[in-house]
Symmetry: C2
Subunit: 336 residues, 2 copies
C-alpha cells in the first residue's frame, strides 16, 4: 500500500489501476488495486481530477511518501550519490574559497542544473558571522568607505558620511580601535557588547570612541540579507508549468524574494533535511510549490541553508539526496 502511494510520485499524470498492475507486479489484479485506491482516496491520500481519470496524490499523499522515505535506512538513499561526485564538487567549491558569494552562486547553480528545480541558497545571517576586521578608507569629500571582513570570508563595503575633518590617520586609529575591541566576536555579540558599554560608559566616552561607535553603527547598516536563486528559467520547462497562470504564480512567488527569505529563515532553525509540501507551506505565495532544505554548518553552528523549490510533484527522493549532499559539501568547505 505504502508502495502504491510511492509509485505515483514519479509519474507525470494521473495514473489508473491497470497501469499500476502492469508497472508494479504485485500479485494483484486491477480490481483489487481499485479497491485499495478507493480506500486511499477516502483517507485523503489520493484524489481524482474527475471520475474516470486516474488518481493523483494529494499533498497528504506526498507527505506520506516523504515520511516513508526517511523511515527506511538512510543508506538506501545515500548510496545513490557516487562518492566521486562529492569529492569532485568539494574540490570545485574549494576553488571559490576566497570568494564566498561566488561560491554560493556556484552552489545554487549546481543545485538547479542537476535537479532542474529552483536552487536557492541562504547565506549566513550577518548577525551570526564573526567580525574579523574593519578598514576605513577616506574617499571623496566627506565620504568614507568601510570594508568589513568576517572570518567566514564575507566581504562587505559601504560608503559612509563622516566628519570631513577626519584624516586618514584618524580613520586608521578608529579602525584599530574597533579591530582590537571586536575581532573574533560575532556581530550579534558585538551588538550586545556595544549596547552594554554604551549604557555603562556613556559618561566617560572620549571623542575617539564616540566616533568609532558612530562609524561602526553606520557600517552595520547593510543588513541586506539576501538569497541566491538559480534555475528559474529551466523550471518553466517542466510539464507542471505548462499553464500560463501557473507560470505567473511561480514568477510572482520568486519575485517576492523576501517571502522566500522569511520561510527559509524559519526553516534554518532546525538542523538537517526538511521538506515542506504545497499547502503545508505557511506562505500563500508558495502553496502549490514544495521546498526541500538542509542546513550547512561551520563546525557545530548552523550557518545558513541550501534549498530546492519545485512543483509539489517533485522527485523528493532525488531532491532530498541532493540537498543533503550539497549541504554537507558546503559544511565541509567551511571547516578549512
Amino acid at each position: 500500500m505504502n508502495a502504491v502511494v510511492r509509485s505515483y510520485i514519479d509519474r507525470p499524470d494521473p495514473v489508473g489501476s491497470r497501469f499500476v498492475t502492469r508497472k508494479y507486479s504485485f500479485g494483484f489484479s486491477p480490481a483489487t488495486i481499485r479497491n485499495i485506491m478507493a480506500d486511499l482516496e477516502e483517507m485523503g491520500f489520493l484524489s481524482q481530477p474527475h471520475t474516470s481519470a486516474g488518481r493523483v496524490p494529494t499533498d497528504k499523499g506526498y507527505r506520506f511518501y516523504v515520511d516513508s522515505l526517511s523511515e527506511q535506512p538512510r543508506t538506501d538513499n545515500l548510496l545513490e550519490v557516487p562518492g566521486e561526485f562529492i569529492e569532485q564538487f568539494s574540490r570545485r567549491l574549494d576553488e571559490f574559497r576566497h570568494d564566498i558569494s561566488a561560491m554560493f552562486a556556484e552552489v545554487s547553480n549546481t543545485l538547479a542544473s542537476l535537479s532542474n528545480y529552483i536552487g536557492v541558497v541562504l547565506p549566513p545571517k550577518a548577525e551570526s558571522t564573526t567580525f574579523n576586521r574593519i578598514d576605513l578608507i577616506k574617499y571623496k569629500g566627506d565620504q568614507v568607505v568601510a570594508i568589513l571582513l568576517t572570518d567566514e570570508g564575507i566581504i562587505k563595503n559601504k560608503v559612509l558620511q563622516a566628519d570631513p575633518m577626519l584624516k586618514q590617520e584618524d580613520l586608521n586609529r578608529i579602525a584599530d580601535y574597533l579591530n582590537a575591541e571586536f575581532s573574533g566576536h560575532t556581530i550579534e555579540e558585538i551588538n550586545n557588547m556595544l549596547m552594554q558599554r554604551m549604557r555603562r560608559e556613556k559618561a566617560q566616552w572620549d571623542k575617539l570612541i564616540e566616533r568609532a561607535i558612530s562609524i561602526y553603527e553606520q557600517s552595520m547598516n547593510f543588513v541586506q540579507d539576501d538569497i541566491i536563486v538559480s534555475g528559474i528559467y529551466d523550471v518553466m520547462n517542466l510539464p507542471d508549468f505548462s499553464d500560463v497562470t501557473k507560470i505567473r504564480e511561480l514568477s510572482k512567488a520568486i519575485k517576492e524574494k523576501h517571502v522566500i527569505l522569511k520561510l527559509l529563515a524559519e526553516l534554518s532553525r532546525v538542523e538537517g533535511v526538511q521538506v515542506v509540501i504545497g499547502n503545508e507551506n505557511p506562505i500563500d505565495e508558495l502553496k502549490g510549490l514544495s521546498v526541500v532544505t538542509s542546513t550547512y554548518k561551520e563546525g557545530n553552528r548552523p550557518m545558513g541553508i541550501v534549498a530546492l523549490i519545485g512543483p509539489t510533484r517533485m522527485d523528493y527522493s532525488k531532491a532530498i539526496i541532493m540537498v543533503d549532499t550539497i549541504a554537507r559539501c558546503v559544511s565541509r568547505t567551511f571547516e578549512d
Copy 2:
C-alpha cells in the same frame, strides 16, 4: 497614411477598416481605408494573420512608425514628461550617490515599473572608469583583500593570494605606489601604461614594483561586466506573452544575459536614443522582442546605457521618452 500606420501600434489586436474609420475620423469610408491598407500590405508595412482578420503591423511597419516619431519636433514628445518627475527622480538618484550599484538597481527598477517592460542597465565598462585608489588588506594566511575605488563610485573587492611573508606595511607600500602612479587615469590607460612600462623597464624592476604589478593584475581580474535587469516577472502579464512558448522564449533570452550584454555593448557606441525592432535584432534570441536604449554620460564621455526590452508591439513613444529622460537623469547625477 502615416497616421494610419501609427494608429495600429496602440491596439492590442488585429485592426480592421471599420475600426479605423470610427476611431480616427478622417473623412474616409471603410472602403477607402481598405484600399490603402491593401497598398500598405503590399509595401510590407502590414500583414494579416489570415484573410478576414484585421491587419497587424510588421516589423517594417513599426520601424516606419518609430522613424516618423523622431522626425516630428522633439518637443512634442518631451512635453509629456512632467518636469516635476525629472526633479523628483534626480533627487531620488542623489540619495544613492554613495552606492552606485544600488543606484543602477533603482534605475532599472524605475524603468521597469513605470513602463511594464523589462528595464536594463549596462553599468560603465570597467575599462573606461577612472582609478581612484586601491587598498590592500592582509587577511587570513596568504590571502590579501584588494579594494578598488573608482572616481565613478564603483567599489570592487577581491581576495588574492600573495606571498605570505608580505606584512601589512609592505602591502601599504605597494598600495601607495600604485595609487601614486595610477590615480586619475582610466583603467584602460593604466593597462596601456603598464604594458609600455613592462616592456621598457623590464630589466630594472625592483621587488616592490614587481609585486605591485602582480597584485594589480590579480585585482583587475574581475572584469565581470554585468547588466542589471528588472521587471521580468511583470512583463509576463502582458497579453503579448499569453502563450507558454512565448514566455519560454522570453525567459531563455533573459537567461542568456551575455547575449543581451553583447547587444547593448554594441549599441552603446552610438549616442542618444536607439530603437531595435524585432528582426532587426542581430541576435536570434532577441528577435521577437524590441529594444529601446539610450546612453548616459559623465561629462562628454559615454559611460553605459539604460534600456527597455519589450514585445515588438511596444509603446515606442512612451518607451523612447522614458529611456531618454532617465538616461538624462543618470547623466545629471554623474555631473556632481
